[in-house]
Symmetry: C2
Subunit: 299 residues, 2 copies
Amino acid sequence: MSVLVVGSTALDSIKTPKSENPRLLGGSASHAAVAASFFSPVKLVGVVGEDFPKRYVQLYRKHGIDLEGLQVTRGKTFHWAGEYEVNMNNRRTLATELGVFETFTPTLPGQHHDTPYVLLANIAPALQHHVLDQMRRPKFIVADTMDLWLNIALPDLLKLLRRVDAFVLNDSEARQLTKEDNVVVAARKIHRLGPKYVIVKKGEHGAILSSPSGLFVAPAYPLRKVVDPTGAGDSFVGGLVGYLASRKGSIDANLRRGMICGSVVASFCCEGFGLRKTTQVTRSMIDARVKELEGLVKF
Amino acid sequence: MSVLVVGSTALDSIKTPKSENPRLLGGSASHAAVAASFFSPVKLVGVVGEDFPKRYVQLYRKHGIDLEGLQVTRGKTFHWAGEYEVNMNNRRTLATELGVFETFTPTLPGQHHDTPYVLLANIAPALQHHVLDQMRRPKFIVADTMDLWLNIALPDLLKLLRRVDAFVLNDSEARQLTKEDNVVVAARKIHRLGPKYVIVKKGEHGAILSSPSGLFVAPAYPLRKVVDPTGAGDSFVGGLVGYLASRKGSIDANLRRGMICGSVVASFCCEGFGLRKTTQVTRSMIDARVKELEGLVKF
Protein backbone atom coordinates (compact mmCIF):
# COMPACT_ATOMS: atom_id res chain seq x y z
CA MET A 1 0.00 0.00 0.00
CA SER A 2 1.12 3.59 -0.44
CA VAL A 3 2.33 6.21 1.99
CA LEU A 4 1.56 9.91 1.92
CA VAL A 5 4.44 11.93 3.36
CA VAL A 6 4.03 15.58 4.26
CA GLY A 7 6.81 17.66 5.77
CA SER A 8 9.51 20.10 4.86
CA THR A 9 11.36 20.01 1.55
CA ALA A 10 14.49 22.04 1.96
CA LEU A 11 18.00 22.90 0.98
CA ASP A 12 20.44 22.25 3.83
CA SER A 13 23.89 23.79 4.16
CA ILE A 14 25.81 21.62 6.57
CA LYS A 15 29.15 22.49 8.08
CA THR A 16 31.34 20.13 10.09
CA PRO A 17 34.85 20.64 11.42
CA LYS A 18 36.10 18.91 8.27
CA SER A 19 33.91 20.17 5.43
CA GLU A 20 31.23 22.50 4.13
CA ASN A 21 28.31 21.22 2.08
CA PRO A 22 26.08 23.94 0.69
CA ARG A 23 22.52 23.41 -0.55
CA LEU A 24 22.15 19.67 -0.07
CA LEU A 25 18.73 18.11 -0.59
CA GLY A 26 17.15 18.12 2.88
CA GLY A 27 13.99 18.56 4.91
CA SER A 28 11.97 16.07 6.93
CA ALA A 29 9.76 15.05 4.00
CA SER A 30 12.72 14.46 1.67
CA HIS A 31 14.47 12.15 4.12
CA ALA A 32 11.26 10.38 5.14
CA ALA A 33 10.00 9.94 1.58
CA VAL A 34 13.25 8.47 0.28
CA ALA A 35 13.45 6.17 3.33
CA ALA A 36 9.86 4.96 2.86
CA SER A 37 10.40 4.45 -0.89
CA PHE A 38 12.60 1.41 -0.28
CA PHE A 39 9.51 -0.44 0.95
CA SER A 40 6.35 1.12 -0.54
CA PRO A 41 5.08 3.61 -3.14
CA VAL A 42 5.34 7.16 -1.74
CA LYS A 43 3.42 10.37 -2.44
CA LEU A 44 5.27 13.49 -1.37
CA VAL A 45 3.43 16.64 -0.26
CA GLY A 46 5.52 19.76 0.13
CA VAL A 47 6.61 23.02 -1.44
CA VAL A 48 9.78 24.23 -3.13
CA GLY A 49 10.77 27.50 -4.80
CA GLU A 50 11.86 28.16 -8.34
CA ASP A 51 15.48 27.77 -7.25
CA PHE A 52 15.00 24.09 -6.38
CA PRO A 53 17.61 22.18 -8.40
CA LYS A 54 16.24 19.87 -11.13
CA ARG A 55 18.68 17.17 -10.06
CA TYR A 56 16.86 16.91 -6.75
CA VAL A 57 13.54 16.44 -8.54
CA GLN A 58 15.24 13.69 -10.54
CA LEU A 59 16.51 12.16 -7.28
CA TYR A 60 12.94 11.96 -5.93
CA ARG A 61 11.83 10.43 -9.25
CA LYS A 62 14.63 7.89 -9.15
CA HIS A 63 13.02 6.63 -5.96
CA GLY A 64 9.62 6.39 -7.66
CA ILE A 65 8.22 9.17 -5.47
CA ASP A 66 4.91 10.62 -6.72
CA LEU A 67 5.47 14.39 -6.97
CA GLU A 68 1.93 15.51 -7.85
CA GLY A 69 1.64 16.97 -4.35
CA LEU A 70 4.93 18.87 -4.56
CA GLN A 71 4.07 22.52 -5.21
CA VAL A 72 6.60 24.67 -7.04
CA THR A 73 6.00 28.27 -6.02
CA ARG A 74 7.49 31.63 -6.92
CA GLY A 75 10.17 32.40 -4.36
CA LYS A 76 13.01 30.62 -2.65
CA THR A 77 13.15 27.08 -1.27
CA PHE A 78 13.28 26.73 2.51
CA HIS A 79 16.96 26.89 3.45
CA TRP A 80 18.53 25.70 6.68
CA ALA A 81 22.19 26.12 7.57
CA GLY A 82 23.77 24.39 10.53
CA GLU A 83 27.10 23.47 12.01
CA TYR A 84 28.13 20.33 13.89
CA GLU A 85 30.83 20.08 16.53
CA VAL A 86 33.48 17.35 16.47
CA ASN A 87 31.44 14.73 18.32
CA MET A 88 28.30 15.28 16.17
CA ASN A 89 26.05 15.42 19.24
CA ASN A 90 25.97 19.19 19.33
CA ARG A 91 24.77 21.27 16.44
CA ARG A 92 23.81 24.90 16.10
CA THR A 93 21.62 26.60 13.54
CA LEU A 94 23.43 29.23 11.53
CA ALA A 95 20.47 30.36 9.40
CA THR A 96 16.82 29.52 8.77
CA GLU A 97 15.26 31.10 5.68
CA LEU A 98 11.64 29.96 5.38
CA GLY A 99 11.18 31.20 1.80
CA VAL A 100 8.11 29.65 0.15
CA PHE A 101 7.40 27.73 3.38
CA GLU A 102 6.21 30.92 5.01
CA THR A 103 2.89 30.82 3.17
CA PHE A 104 2.66 27.07 2.45
CA THR A 105 -0.71 25.36 2.79
CA PRO A 106 -0.60 21.72 1.76
CA THR A 107 -3.45 21.05 -0.63
CA LEU A 108 -3.76 17.42 -1.63
CA PRO A 109 -4.34 16.35 -5.23
CA GLY A 110 -7.57 14.35 -5.73
CA GLN A 111 -6.24 10.81 -5.55
CA HIS A 112 -4.13 11.54 -2.47
CA HIS A 113 -7.15 11.68 -0.11
CA ASP A 114 -7.45 7.91 0.01
CA THR A 115 -3.81 7.05 0.80
CA PRO A 116 -3.94 4.39 3.53
CA TYR A 117 -0.72 5.31 5.38
CA VAL A 118 -0.06 8.90 6.38
CA LEU A 119 3.26 10.13 7.68
CA LEU A 120 3.11 13.61 9.13
CA ALA A 121 6.84 14.25 9.15
CA ASN A 122 8.28 17.11 11.19
CA ILE A 123 6.52 20.35 10.21
CA ALA A 124 4.23 22.85 12.02
CA PRO A 125 1.35 20.97 13.72
CA ALA A 126 -1.14 23.32 12.03
CA LEU A 127 -0.01 21.98 8.64
CA GLN A 128 -0.13 18.40 9.92
CA HIS A 129 -3.76 19.08 10.96
CA HIS A 130 -4.48 20.60 7.58
CA VAL A 131 -3.37 17.44 5.81
CA LEU A 132 -5.41 15.19 8.11
CA ASP A 133 -8.47 17.37 7.47
CA GLN A 134 -8.26 16.38 3.80
CA MET A 135 -7.79 12.63 4.32
CA ARG A 136 -10.58 10.05 4.04
CA ARG A 137 -10.24 7.56 6.91
CA PRO A 138 -6.62 6.53 6.48
CA LYS A 139 -5.62 3.15 7.88
CA PHE A 140 -2.69 4.41 9.94
CA ILE A 141 -1.40 7.85 10.86
CA VAL A 142 2.07 8.53 12.26
CA ALA A 143 3.23 11.96 13.42
CA ASP A 144 6.76 13.15 14.07
CA THR A 145 7.67 16.50 15.64
CA MET A 146 10.52 18.59 17.04
CA ASP A 147 11.25 20.69 20.15
CA LEU A 148 10.39 23.91 18.27
CA TRP A 149 6.70 22.92 18.09
CA LEU A 150 6.62 21.97 21.76
CA ASN A 151 7.87 25.49 22.44
CA ILE A 152 5.73 27.56 20.08
CA ALA A 153 2.74 25.42 19.04
CA LEU A 154 1.96 23.13 21.98
CA PRO A 155 -1.87 23.52 21.89
CA ASP A 156 -1.92 22.56 18.18
CA LEU A 157 0.39 19.62 18.89
CA LEU A 158 -1.75 18.35 21.78
CA LYS A 159 -4.84 18.48 19.54
CA LEU A 160 -2.90 16.54 16.89
CA LEU A 161 -2.02 13.79 19.37
CA ARG A 162 -5.69 12.95 19.69
CA ARG A 163 -5.89 12.36 15.92
CA VAL A 164 -2.89 10.07 15.31
CA ASP A 165 -2.25 6.35 15.85
CA ALA A 166 1.47 6.66 16.50
CA PHE A 167 3.58 9.51 17.78
CA VAL A 168 7.35 9.62 17.35
CA LEU A 169 9.60 11.96 19.32
CA ASN A 170 13.07 11.92 20.78
CA ASP A 171 13.94 11.39 24.44
CA SER A 172 14.58 15.02 25.27
CA GLU A 173 11.28 16.00 23.64
CA ALA A 174 9.49 13.29 25.63
CA ARG A 175 10.99 14.73 28.81
CA GLN A 176 9.99 18.24 27.77
CA LEU A 177 6.41 17.22 26.95
CA THR A 178 5.79 15.15 30.09
CA LYS A 179 8.17 16.68 32.66
CA GLU A 180 9.24 13.10 33.33
CA ASP A 181 12.85 11.86 33.19
CA ASN A 182 12.10 8.15 32.89
CA VAL A 183 11.46 7.29 29.23
CA VAL A 184 9.07 4.41 29.98
CA VAL A 185 6.96 6.52 32.33
CA ALA A 186 7.06 9.43 29.86
CA ALA A 187 5.75 7.13 27.09
CA ARG A 188 2.85 6.08 29.35
CA LYS A 189 1.93 9.69 29.95
CA ILE A 190 1.96 10.34 26.20
CA HIS A 191 -0.48 7.45 25.64
CA ARG A 192 -2.93 9.36 27.82
CA LEU A 193 -2.68 12.28 25.38
CA GLY A 194 -4.03 10.09 22.57
CA PRO A 195 -1.60 7.91 20.59
CA LYS A 196 -1.93 4.14 20.84
CA TYR A 197 1.72 3.74 19.86
CA VAL A 198 4.49 5.90 21.28
CA ILE A 199 8.02 5.67 19.91
CA VAL A 200 10.84 7.43 21.72
CA LYS A 201 14.01 7.85 19.68
CA LYS A 202 17.31 7.82 21.57
CA GLY A 203 19.77 8.48 18.72
CA GLU A 204 22.81 6.20 18.88
CA HIS A 205 21.12 4.31 21.75
CA GLY A 206 18.21 3.12 19.59
CA ALA A 207 14.51 3.61 20.27
CA ILE A 208 11.75 2.36 22.54
CA LEU A 209 8.22 1.45 21.48
CA SER A 210 5.39 1.52 23.98
CA SER A 211 2.28 -0.20 22.64
CA PRO A 212 -0.79 -2.12 23.84
CA SER A 213 1.25 -5.31 23.53
CA GLY A 214 4.06 -3.94 25.72
CA LEU A 215 7.50 -2.47 25.26
CA PHE A 216 10.03 -3.09 22.52
CA VAL A 217 13.66 -2.05 22.86
CA ALA A 218 15.13 -1.39 19.40
CA PRO A 219 18.89 -1.14 19.02
CA ALA A 220 20.58 1.38 16.78
CA TYR A 221 22.95 -0.02 14.18
CA PRO A 222 26.43 0.50 15.69
CA LEU A 223 28.17 2.83 13.26
CA ARG A 224 31.92 3.27 13.34
CA LYS A 225 31.72 6.70 11.74
CA VAL A 226 28.97 9.31 11.66
CA VAL A 227 29.43 11.77 8.78
CA ASP A 228 26.21 13.79 9.21
CA PRO A 229 23.27 12.87 11.45
CA THR A 230 20.92 15.42 9.83
CA GLY A 231 17.71 13.65 8.78
CA ALA A 232 18.40 10.43 10.72
CA GLY A 233 15.16 10.79 12.72
CA ASP A 234 13.18 11.51 9.54
CA SER A 235 14.77 8.50 7.84
CA PHE A 236 13.86 6.34 10.84
CA VAL A 237 10.18 7.25 10.73
CA GLY A 238 10.12 7.06 6.92
CA GLY A 239 11.58 3.57 6.87
CA LEU A 240 9.19 2.54 9.63
CA VAL A 241 6.03 3.68 7.86
CA GLY A 242 7.24 2.46 4.47
CA TYR A 243 7.78 -1.00 5.92
CA LEU A 244 4.37 -1.04 7.65
CA ALA A 245 2.63 -0.10 4.39
CA SER A 246 4.37 -3.00 2.64
CA ARG A 247 3.15 -5.65 5.09
CA LYS A 248 -0.06 -7.57 5.55
CA GLY A 249 -1.23 -8.40 9.06
CA SER A 250 -1.74 -6.24 12.12
CA ILE A 251 0.27 -3.14 12.93
CA ASP A 252 1.26 -4.76 16.24
CA ALA A 253 2.78 -7.69 14.40
CA ASN A 254 4.85 -5.50 12.06
CA LEU A 255 5.82 -2.49 14.13
CA ARG A 256 8.95 -4.00 15.73
CA ARG A 257 10.56 -4.99 12.45
CA GLY A 258 9.39 -1.67 11.03
CA MET A 259 11.41 0.15 13.68
CA ILE A 260 14.45 -1.95 12.84
CA CYS A 261 14.06 -1.10 9.14
CA GLY A 262 13.77 2.58 10.10
CA SER A 263 16.83 2.29 12.30
CA VAL A 264 18.83 0.76 9.44
CA VAL A 265 17.85 3.45 6.91
CA ALA A 266 18.77 6.05 9.56
CA SER A 267 22.18 4.41 9.94
CA PHE A 268 22.83 4.76 6.22
CA CYS A 269 21.61 8.37 6.36
CA CYS A 270 24.30 9.17 8.96
CA GLU A 271 27.05 7.83 6.70
CA GLY A 272 26.85 10.66 4.17
CA PHE A 273 26.00 14.34 4.01
CA GLY A 274 22.32 15.07 3.47
CA LEU A 275 20.75 12.30 1.39
CA ARG A 276 23.96 11.36 -0.42
CA LYS A 277 24.39 7.95 1.13
CA THR A 278 20.69 7.13 1.53
CA THR A 279 20.08 7.66 -2.17
CA GLN A 280 22.86 5.21 -3.06
CA VAL A 281 21.45 2.39 -0.96
CA THR A 282 19.52 -0.61 -2.26
CA ARG A 283 16.82 -2.67 -0.60
CA SER A 284 19.18 -5.62 -0.36
CA MET A 285 21.76 -3.48 1.49
CA ILE A 286 19.02 -2.55 3.95
CA ASP A 287 17.91 -6.16 4.36
CA ALA A 288 21.50 -7.24 5.00
CA ARG A 289 21.88 -4.70 7.80
CA VAL A 290 18.51 -5.73 9.31
CA LYS A 291 19.78 -9.30 9.38
CA GLU A 292 23.03 -8.12 10.93
CA LEU A 293 21.11 -6.26 13.68
CA GLU A 294 19.14 -9.44 14.31
CA GLY A 295 22.45 -11.17 15.05
CA LEU A 296 23.77 -8.29 17.14
CA VAL A 297 20.98 -8.55 19.74
CA LYS A 298 20.64 -12.33 19.88
CA PHE A 299 21.59 -14.04 23.13
CA MET B 1 32.93 -23.35 39.13
CA SER B 2 33.75 -20.69 41.69
CA VAL B 3 34.48 -16.98 41.38
CA LEU B 4 37.01 -14.99 43.36
CA VAL B 5 35.87 -11.39 43.81
CA VAL B 6 38.22 -8.71 45.05
CA GLY B 7 37.20 -5.09 45.46
CA SER B 8 36.01 -2.61 48.02
CA THR B 9 33.83 -3.60 50.98
CA ALA B 10 32.30 -0.43 52.33
CA LEU B 11 29.60 1.38 54.21
CA ASP B 12 27.70 3.77 51.93
CA SER B 13 25.65 6.71 53.13
CA ILE B 14 23.35 7.65 50.29
CA LYS B 15 21.23 10.75 50.14
CA THR B 16 18.53 11.44 47.55
CA PRO B 17 16.06 14.33 47.36
CA LYS B 18 13.59 12.09 49.18
CA SER B 19 15.57 10.18 51.80
CA GLU B 20 18.80 9.62 53.70
CA ASN B 21 20.25 6.15 54.14
CA PRO B 22 23.28 6.00 56.40
CA ARG B 23 25.79 3.16 56.50
CA LEU B 24 24.28 0.80 53.96
CA LEU B 25 26.29 -2.26 52.93
CA GLY B 26 28.22 -1.13 49.85
CA GLY B 27 31.45 -1.33 47.90
CA SER B 28 32.24 -2.85 44.52
CA ALA B 29 33.07 -6.29 45.94
CA SER B 30 29.87 -6.46 48.01
CA HIS B 31 27.64 -5.71 45.04
CA ALA B 32 29.63 -7.93 42.67
CA ALA B 33 29.86 -10.86 45.10
CA VAL B 34 26.13 -10.89 45.90
CA ALA B 35 25.31 -10.59 42.17
CA ALA B 36 27.65 -13.47 41.28
CA SER B 37 26.29 -15.62 44.12
CA PHE B 38 22.99 -16.16 42.29
CA PHE B 39 24.86 -18.24 39.75
CA SER B 40 28.07 -19.68 41.28
CA PRO B 41 29.96 -20.14 44.57
CA VAL B 42 31.78 -16.92 45.46
CA LYS B 43 34.93 -16.17 47.47
CA LEU B 44 35.15 -12.58 48.66
CA VAL B 45 38.49 -10.85 49.20
CA GLY B 46 38.39 -7.51 50.98
CA VAL B 47 38.87 -5.70 54.26
CA VAL B 48 36.53 -4.24 56.86
CA GLY B 49 37.05 -2.51 60.20
CA GLU B 50 35.89 -3.52 63.64
CA ASP B 51 32.81 -1.32 63.17
CA PHE B 52 31.50 -3.48 60.30
CA PRO B 53 27.97 -4.53 61.33
CA LYS B 54 27.47 -8.24 62.04
CA ARG B 55 24.22 -8.18 60.07
CA TYR B 56 26.20 -7.44 56.92
CA VAL B 57 28.45 -10.43 57.56
CA GLN B 58 25.29 -12.49 57.92
CA LEU B 59 23.98 -11.04 54.65
CA TYR B 60 27.12 -12.22 52.83
CA ARG B 61 26.71 -15.64 54.49
CA LYS B 62 23.05 -15.82 53.48
CA HIS B 63 24.32 -15.67 49.89
CA GLY B 64 26.78 -18.50 50.55
CA ILE B 65 29.75 -16.20 50.09
CA ASP B 66 33.06 -17.62 51.35
CA LEU B 67 34.49 -15.02 53.74
CA GLU B 68 37.85 -16.58 54.46
CA GLY B 69 39.46 -13.81 52.39
CA LEU B 70 37.63 -11.02 54.20
CA GLN B 71 40.11 -9.43 56.62
CA VAL B 72 38.75 -7.76 59.74
CA THR B 73 41.28 -5.13 60.81
CA ARG B 74 41.60 -2.70 63.67
CA GLY B 75 40.15 0.62 62.48
CA LYS B 76 37.13 1.84 60.59
CA THR B 77 35.46 0.36 57.53
CA PHE B 78 35.81 2.33 54.29
CA HIS B 79 32.96 4.83 54.25
CA TRP B 80 31.56 6.65 51.22
CA ALA B 81 28.86 9.29 51.38
CA GLY B 82 27.15 10.63 48.29
CA GLU B 83 24.13 12.55 47.14
CA TYR B 84 21.98 12.06 44.02
CA GLU B 85 20.03 14.74 42.21
CA VAL B 86 16.39 14.27 41.21
CA ASN B 87 17.10 12.55 37.89
CA MET B 88 19.67 10.10 39.38
CA ASN B 89 22.16 10.76 36.59
CA ASN B 90 24.16 13.25 38.60
CA ARG B 91 25.73 12.38 41.91
CA ARG B 92 28.34 14.08 44.04
CA THR B 93 30.60 12.65 46.68
CA LEU B 94 30.08 14.18 50.12
CA ALA B 95 32.77 12.22 51.95
CA THR B 96 35.33 9.46 51.37
CA GLU B 97 36.92 7.96 54.50
CA LEU B 98 39.33 5.22 53.47
CA GLY B 99 39.74 3.79 56.98
CA VAL B 100 41.23 0.27 56.92
CA PHE B 101 41.43 0.46 53.12
CA GLU B 102 44.35 2.85 53.37
CA THR B 103 46.77 0.06 54.25
CA PHE B 104 44.95 -2.90 52.69
CA THR B 105 46.98 -5.55 50.88
CA PRO B 106 44.84 -8.45 49.70
CA THR B 107 46.49 -11.69 50.77
CA LEU B 108 44.72 -14.78 49.51
CA PRO B 109 44.07 -17.79 51.74
CA GLY B 110 45.66 -21.00 50.46
CA GLN B 111 42.77 -22.56 48.59
CA HIS B 112 41.88 -19.27 46.86
CA HIS B 113 44.90 -19.42 44.52
CA ASP B 114 43.25 -21.96 42.25
CA THR B 115 39.88 -20.23 41.78
CA PRO B 116 39.09 -20.53 38.05
CA TYR B 117 37.18 -17.25 37.60
CA VAL B 118 38.62 -14.00 38.88
CA LEU B 119 36.67 -10.77 39.10
CA LEU B 120 38.83 -7.75 39.82
CA ALA B 121 36.01 -5.42 40.81
CA ASN B 122 36.61 -1.68 41.01
CA ILE B 123 39.58 -1.01 43.29
CA ALA B 124 43.09 0.46 42.84
CA PRO B 125 44.86 -1.27 39.90
CA ALA B 126 47.87 -1.96 42.17
CA LEU B 127 45.64 -4.15 44.36
CA GLN B 128 44.16 -5.85 41.30
CA HIS B 129 47.73 -6.67 40.21
CA HIS B 130 48.53 -7.93 43.69
CA VAL B 131 45.66 -10.42 43.55
CA LEU B 132 46.63 -11.65 40.09
CA ASP B 133 50.22 -12.14 41.29
CA GLN B 134 48.91 -14.72 43.76
CA MET B 135 46.69 -16.64 41.34
CA ARG B 136 47.66 -19.93 39.65
CA ARG B 137 46.61 -19.79 35.99
CA PRO B 138 42.95 -18.84 36.37
CA LYS B 139 40.62 -19.76 33.52
CA PHE B 140 39.16 -16.29 33.05
CA ILE B 141 39.98 -12.86 34.44
CA VAL B 142 37.64 -9.87 34.27
CA ALA B 143 38.61 -6.38 35.46
CA ASP B 144 36.35 -3.44 36.19
CA THR B 145 37.57 0.09 36.93
CA MET B 146 36.48 3.71 37.44
CA ASP B 147 37.47 7.17 36.22
CA LEU B 148 39.52 7.80 39.39
CA TRP B 149 42.10 5.16 38.36
CA LEU B 150 42.29 6.55 34.84
CA ASN B 151 43.17 9.88 36.46
CA ILE B 152 45.62 8.83 39.16
CA ALA B 153 46.87 5.30 38.29
CA LEU B 154 46.86 5.05 34.50
CA PRO B 155 50.27 3.31 34.13
CA ASP B 156 49.17 0.58 36.59
CA LEU B 157 45.87 0.22 34.80
CA LEU B 158 47.53 -0.07 31.38
CA LYS B 159 49.79 -2.81 32.73
CA LEU B 160 46.74 -4.57 34.13
CA LEU B 161 44.99 -4.54 30.73
CA ARG B 162 47.73 -6.80 29.38
CA ARG B 163 46.94 -9.38 32.08
CA VAL B 164 43.14 -9.70 31.82
CA ASP B 165 40.80 -11.50 29.43
CA ALA B 166 37.94 -9.05 29.70
CA PHE B 167 37.83 -5.38 30.61
CA VAL B 168 34.64 -3.61 31.65
CA LEU B 169 34.27 0.17 31.75
CA ASN B 170 31.59 2.73 31.12
CA ASP B 171 31.20 4.85 28.00
CA SER B 172 32.66 8.03 29.47
CA GLU B 173 35.66 6.08 30.78
CA ALA B 174 36.12 4.49 27.34
CA ARG B 175 36.16 7.97 25.82
CA GLN B 176 38.61 9.19 28.45
CA LEU B 177 40.95 6.24 27.93
CA THR B 178 40.97 6.29 24.13
CA LYS B 179 40.20 9.97 23.29
CA GLU B 180 37.57 8.54 20.94
CA ASP B 181 33.86 9.49 20.99
CA ASN B 182 32.56 6.51 19.03
CA VAL B 183 32.03 3.58 21.41
CA VAL B 184 32.71 0.89 18.79
CA VAL B 185 35.96 2.49 17.70
CA ALA B 186 36.94 3.08 21.35
CA ALA B 187 36.39 -0.63 22.09
CA ARG B 188 38.67 -1.54 19.18
CA LYS B 189 41.40 0.70 20.54
CA ILE B 190 41.06 -0.97 23.95
CA HIS B 191 41.55 -4.41 22.38
CA ARG B 192 44.96 -3.20 21.26
CA LEU B 193 45.83 -2.54 24.92
CA GLY B 194 45.36 -6.21 25.72
CA PRO B 195 41.87 -7.51 26.55
CA LYS B 196 40.27 -10.00 24.18
CA TYR B 197 36.81 -8.95 25.37
CA VAL B 198 35.83 -5.31 25.90
CA ILE B 199 32.50 -4.44 27.48
CA VAL B 200 31.34 -0.84 27.48
CA LYS B 201 28.52 -0.07 29.93
CA LYS B 202 26.06 2.64 28.93
CA GLY B 203 23.84 2.74 32.03
CA GLU B 204 20.13 2.89 31.15
CA HIS B 205 21.09 2.38 27.48
CA GLY B 206 22.56 -1.08 28.06
CA ALA B 207 26.04 -2.27 27.16
CA ILE B 208 28.12 -3.23 24.15
CA LEU B 209 30.44 -6.22 23.90
CA SER B 210 33.29 -6.22 21.43
CA SER B 211 34.82 -9.68 21.02
CA PRO B 212 36.63 -11.84 18.45
CA SER B 213 33.22 -13.07 17.27
CA GLY B 214 31.94 -9.51 16.75
CA LEU B 215 29.70 -7.04 18.52
CA PHE B 216 26.78 -7.69 20.84
CA VAL B 217 24.32 -4.96 21.76
CA ALA B 218 22.82 -5.72 25.19
CA PRO B 219 19.70 -3.85 26.27
CA ALA B 220 19.19 -2.57 29.79
CA TYR B 221 16.03 -3.74 31.54
CA PRO B 222 13.63 -0.78 31.19
CA LEU B 223 12.93 0.29 34.77
CA ARG B 224 10.00 2.53 35.60
CA LYS B 225 11.65 3.79 38.77
CA VAL B 226 15.29 4.05 39.82
CA VAL B 227 15.66 4.29 43.60
CA ASP B 228 19.47 4.19 43.85
CA PRO B 229 21.87 3.33 41.00
CA THR B 230 24.88 2.89 43.33
CA GLY B 231 26.48 -0.48 42.64
CA ALA B 232 24.61 -1.15 39.40
CA GLY B 233 27.84 -1.45 37.41
CA ASP B 234 29.35 -3.76 40.05
CA SER B 235 26.17 -5.88 40.02
CA PHE B 236 26.37 -6.08 36.24
CA VAL B 237 29.91 -7.41 36.20
CA GLY B 238 29.21 -9.70 39.18
CA GLY B 239 26.17 -11.27 37.52
CA LEU B 240 28.14 -11.61 34.29
CA VAL B 241 31.09 -13.48 35.83
CA GLY B 242 28.85 -15.54 38.12
CA TYR B 243 26.89 -16.72 35.09
CA LEU B 244 30.05 -17.52 33.08
CA ALA B 245 31.43 -19.62 35.96
CA SER B 246 28.18 -21.61 36.05
CA ARG B 247 28.28 -22.62 32.39
CA LYS B 248 30.10 -25.24 30.39
CA GLY B 249 31.26 -24.44 26.87
CA SER B 250 33.31 -21.56 25.52
CA ILE B 251 33.33 -18.04 26.92
CA ASP B 252 32.25 -16.76 23.51
CA ALA B 253 29.15 -18.93 23.62
CA ASN B 254 28.11 -17.74 27.09
CA LEU B 255 29.19 -14.11 27.26
CA ARG B 256 26.07 -12.63 25.66
CA ARG B 257 23.64 -14.28 28.04
CA GLY B 258 26.05 -13.50 30.87
CA MET B 259 25.76 -9.80 30.06
CA ILE B 260 21.97 -10.08 30.08
CA CYS B 261 22.10 -11.79 33.50
CA GLY B 262 24.37 -8.99 34.74
CA SER B 263 22.03 -6.40 33.30
CA VAL B 264 19.09 -7.96 35.11
CA VAL B 265 20.84 -8.12 38.50
CA ALA B 266 21.84 -4.47 37.95
CA SER B 267 18.20 -3.59 37.32
CA PHE B 268 17.20 -5.10 40.66
CA CYS B 269 20.09 -3.29 42.33
CA CYS B 270 18.68 0.06 41.13
CA GLU B 271 15.29 -0.67 42.70
CA GLY B 272 16.46 -0.34 46.29
CA PHE B 273 19.04 1.55 48.33
CA GLY B 274 22.42 -0.16 48.57
CA LEU B 275 21.97 -3.93 48.41
CA ARG B 276 18.47 -3.93 49.92
CA LYS B 277 16.63 -5.06 46.82
CA THR B 278 19.41 -7.25 45.41
CA THR B 279 19.55 -9.29 48.61
CA GLN B 280 15.80 -9.97 48.43
CA VAL B 281 15.92 -11.35 44.91
CA THR B 282 15.80 -15.05 43.97
CA ARG B 283 17.30 -16.85 41.01
CA SER B 284 13.83 -17.44 39.58
CA MET B 285 13.08 -13.68 39.72
CA ILE B 286 16.30 -13.11 37.76
CA ASP B 287 15.46 -15.80 35.22
CA ALA B 288 11.97 -14.32 34.73
CA ARG B 289 13.44 -10.91 33.92
CA VAL B 290 16.02 -12.46 31.55
CA LYS B 291 13.14 -14.11 29.71
CA GLU B 292 11.27 -10.82 29.67
CA LEU B 293 14.31 -9.05 28.16
CA GLU B 294 14.46 -11.77 25.53
CA GLY B 295 10.91 -10.81 24.54
CA LEU B 296 11.63 -7.08 24.67
CA VAL B 297 14.28 -7.23 21.94
CA LYS B 298 12.67 -9.82 19.65
CA PHE B 299 11.57 -8.64 16.21
